[in-house]
Symmetry: D2
């Protein structure tokens, strides 16, 4: 079995291999220039900060469906320990075990491979247990600061949450951009709100997982045409799941990560941001979203903050 | 044994309990107002981004000295796994076990207690294995975005690295501020560079630990007088270690975290920032430094980025 | 609220505090004498070995109900790594994160406390995050080798599995002993089979958890009268759950662990043993069941083997 | 580079591939027959039990030399938690993260590969991050109960501990067997004492690691000739380290695990056993040494007990 022609046709149109040189490891993040960052800082008009990460704890969003993607087991290794004798200053310390993709995170480019390749044509077997990702590991990202744009597809449609079988199309993105009164530009980080995470927030972890609205296979070309730097949304699967095309699983992952070299974010909580953008009448903001730099990580937890 | 009078005298002068109400959990982070954030965004003049986090991996900075503060054990749970059958899109996933304070991190306020109390007078025994920190856990921070100021004490003195027995004094901070041509103001996050982390970067983990230069017991009053929001530096111990006053262990921790309610950052890599600030002739920048929101964490990893 | 009189009455009758001295940490395991071990070795008549542990893997029996009791996350840290250069002998290594009570295990005596006390009257607060159990930690057990006796309550009743609301009574134990043709004696380790684990083996983790058949509050006196050394069974909860007496939760745990100082085993897979004992027409065997010696552990995984 | 002729010559002589069928996964453990187990039970003459496992804790024997083989991080997830309300019975629970080969353990057969093969000629790439070892994983062992024989090489030579450059030869094994007055027979598990673990017990973890006495490349033939079922010793490296033959690393591992299909044990504490055997004037005993059944594990922790 191999991927269908329909996939390969789109792949050719959005492919960025070699665009930033053969040795490039960060793909579309190259589109965040210094000028872009200056412009992003200029967007801040009130100073309102909105956090987009889910809290990290044992009772997190993972339901056991994805093997090894475990919710955080967060334990205390010391509590009020008087390390230097009775009556001295005491300290508490904690430790955690968790899947790097368990909660709010960025997928690093090598998180997905197809046909034996990762971004920029490198061999998929460059990922090993010993070295983890030898190319484009999450630590190569270094920093993610740019203009963020919220495309609030749910609110634009007057819905709290899109139905589980709703594939977010280019037309939906256009509609949301018009609703927001914003034009998506090169180097932007686009946040797509479906409202799906409301299921997780209300305790329905299974329902949150799937069926899930998410990006359509037609959207990578939309992002590619606008030179978007990265895309994140408020779902577990990122793209619509089950998929639009029978037996074509995770095509958007493959197009974004492998072909375009564009990082994806999942499980971002965009609920508070949706309200804030509506209140501020602005859907553009400074976005600080640098992942934890795990050496060779195929993903990394992130605590993103939008500054309006 | 109890803490000496010298400690309690300073404690009285810097104490912030009740200043932001009895129910406050975030202390001096209250000083980062919306106006402050707007001003911080206005500091960006080039768009240059400098990451301040150490990479996360098994061969990290912990030497085993602090029990339970383990370096990241980062493993792959899946590599190029074709979840949906042969020839389909493949995914890789990873997991980690690590001490929350093992690498670049913020101490949450309850990381330290003395005399049975944490910040705002709450009982230290509100931290339990089951709930972790019930008050002022790292997740209550929500966002850390403000103006950052680098006080490059080492460079101001023409040194790569301060000697292991150098206590950074208020006079040193004044000297570094003058060298930087910057005035520390309310809501600023101050980064104090000692150069000590060069030892860790060169592979000397034991030497990095101690003896270590660090903040003097006299500096909390300096930060308090200026209404600084948070302080971070490039050492394991934050304050000078072994301590200045015999048998008075970790007084700066106790003054900052317990009395002032001011978060502290440790193991921040300020080397690249030192060069960048010198090149840009500016020691003030926008600082994005929101920690991972572990529910009830007494500390949290952070991937800070300075934007000049 | 405190424990009812009914509980305290039984507690008085089975209490073993001081019986083996004030400094004793192992309780009824003292009943396994050298003579007992010699006799146990003498029971082996065929040399047939039956393992009683569940396999350890991510898809284990824990359903998330008990916070922190996580199924094993077992990952490879190296695969065929040629540590000494290409073409040399290669090694594979693995690591695990798991709850010590997640699968087949022994409860150590301090796993449970009531009224502020653990076994032998020691204070419950002798368990701390830093030291774990200071008394009677699982490592103090050192070795568990004795005669094992299977009381196959389910099979004696002609059932595959007892109903979820079946409290195993002293009369049930007598019936099973008669069915087995065996007399329970001092120093024996008694394995009580309910068949409940068949639910877990068939994939119904929730159903396995509860409602669950298990030991009645009346059985501790039966074990005490016979000077049994330890008891294990094939359930998650060990005792009947929900409990027989409204609002009296886990009384059997408290009687066994705190009052008698008798270790308990849970999640032991007794299915193959049930068949083997029936085939061999013998329900007594040599039992090797030494737990992993976690220093200060309040429980420990064990891979028990019955030798018939 | 490939393995030298000297290695392949021995390999041919000790190879057991196909000996127990093409589908066999447990190699020389097949030599432990029911008759052997009966005989082993018959060896017990006093009922004295000697544990052979090191305690499991953060301050264990690993020094960081072997990447990912981390000492146990053992934390409490609950302490005296009154799950069912104030005044009810309270429970304590713990969790651990550790390398499966970090302390006293058995190597499973696929722990080592050479020339792309593991035991019984299976491909080394049958070990994957997702499945771990598909063949001969530690869970396939099921039970390890047999006669154990202590070959106390150190004591036979009148030494507390062999020098770091001492390769234990067939002649040394003969000498120790004569000293013990015992004949090694088919199905025996041989424990070889070097005394090296005294370094670890005295706190010298680095010194314990290497240089280390251990088995010579000449011993696999000795074990093969006697149809030994398994061998364990009291070192980190098992075989002499650095190796006897320049650039021939870990030949004994490759011969035992890959060629013979014979499990190896490392970091077994044989000090108390050495004394006990001397006192009892018997170096043969019943050995209970079943590893924790990690599904697909390339090794497994074990808490062995010798019964004399």
């Amino acid at each position: 079995m191999s991927l269908p022609t329909a996939f390969h046709d789109i792949a050719k149109r959005v492919n960025n291999w070699g665009r930033w040189g053969e040795s490039d490891e960060i793909g579309t993040l190259n589109l965040i220039t210094e000028a872009k960052v200056r412009a992003a800082a200029g967007v801040v008009h009130r100073g309102r900060r909105v956090p987009l990460a889910l809290p990290l704890h044992q009772d997190g969003i993972q339901s056991g469906l994805i093997p090894g993607r475990v919710n955080p087991l967060h334990t205390m290794v010391q509590i009020n320990q008087e390390l230097f004798g009775p009556g001295t200053v005491a300290t508490s310390d904690d430790a955690v075990t968790m899947g790097l993709q368990a909660a709010t995170h960025w997928d690093a480019l090598p998180h997905v491979s197809h046909s034996g390749r990762i971004y920029n044509g490198r061999p998929a077997d460059s990922i090993t247990p010993h070295t983890r990702a030898r190319f484009s590991g999450i630590h190569t990202v270094r920093h993610v600061v740019s203009r963020g744009v919220l495309l609030d597809v749910a609110r634009a449609k007057g819905a709290d949450r899109l139905p589980g079988d709703h594939a977010v199309t280019p037309e939906d993105l256009d509609e949301a951009a018009e609703f927001a009164g914003v034009r998506v530009e090169a180097g932007d980080i686009v946040l797509v709100r479906t409202g799906q995470i409301r299921l997780a927030l209300s305790g329905d972890r299974r329902g949150y997982g799937h069926p899930s609205p998410g990006l359509s296979i037609r959207t990578p070309e939309w992002f590619h045409a606008r030179d978007v730097a990265a895309v994140a949304n408020d779902t577990l699967t990122f793209e619509i799941f089950p998929p639009e095309v029978a037996d074509l699983w995770m095509p958007v992952h493959a197009l974004h990560l492998v072909e375009m070299g564009m990082p994806q974010g999942q499980n971002w909580n965009l609920e508070e941001l949706s309200t804030a953008c509506a209140e501020e009448r602005s859907h553009a903001f400074l976005l600080c979203a640098t992942p934890e730099p795990f050496l060779g990580g195929t993903g990394g937890p992130v605590a993103p903050v939008a500054v309006l």
